[in-house]
Symmetry: C2
DNA sequence: TGGTTAATTAACCGATAGGTAAAATATGGA
DNA sequence: TCCATATTTTACCTATCGGTTAATTAACCA
């Protein structure tokens, strides 16, 4: 039933509330109610609990008990995987710009040189 | 009603079919039916159309008419924005590892200590 | 003109997402 | 022991998601 990890991570990041929570957590650990504070006007505590569950399932945060509070902590690993996925294909989708760029240059200056960098096989 | 751009992009990337389509497009332009080919056993043409609409709305692809075919092309800009968002906070979430690392080091080398950094109030 | 192919739209479906209010649970402290 | 606080669970709601089939639109071609 469950999605692959990358999908879970991307989906978890696809919500502004959850991204804001992560940004907050990137400054340091925080309890659930500390995290909820900025959203209290807009949404209820159970809503935050649900968002945290989504983040937890994606491995983006971990929770630990500390008295009656739950301390939440960011976990960078899934973020690294997202970053890696994007960077892995970056050369390819950046290239389309290079090609367009080169094409435009050829059109305007009529320089038909070959052996340029960034030109991929056909 | 519509979400912010970053949310649209992350959500669009949160589906393995759509990521596969992007990976394919990172190798070069393709028509809808070319893109659909690898998924024909698993899903119908309208399903692909819908996925492409999601990608298009996120600005991840553009479509152009070419005879009876629609050529699809990847657009790197939203990917760059995602990448930038992650990299912008990278220093912070990477830091938690450094801190943990340091904490573990302190714990294993000298175990009593008060006034340690990272020990939070109660 | 009519037929074929490419792609989309329309209408529908079940599952999931994101929210709520109210009740339940867990813990520390008087 | 009882209360207050923090957090989660339950039950519910509506909207969106990801898929379907059937019908529709668009362009080429003979």
């Amino acid at each position: 039933m469950d999605q692959d990890k990358l999908s879970l991570t991307f989906s978890a990041l696809g919500d502004p509330t959850r991204r804001a929570i992560l940004v907050r957590l990137s400054m340091g650990e925080a309890s659930v109610s500390e995290l909820a504070k900025p959203f209290m006007k807009e949404m209820s505590a159970p809503a935050i609990t649900k968002h945290l569950k989504v983040l937890e399932k994606a491995g983006l945060i971990t929770k630990s008990r500390e008295a009656q509070w739950r301390q939440c902590k960011i976990n960078g690993e899934p973020l690294r995987e997202v970053s890696d996925w994007i960077e892995h294909y970056r050369v390819f989708w950046e290239e389309s710009f290079d090609r367009l760029d080169e094409y435009l240059k050829t059109m305007t200056t009529k320089t038909t040189k070959k052996g340029k960098k960034n030109v991929r096989k056909k």
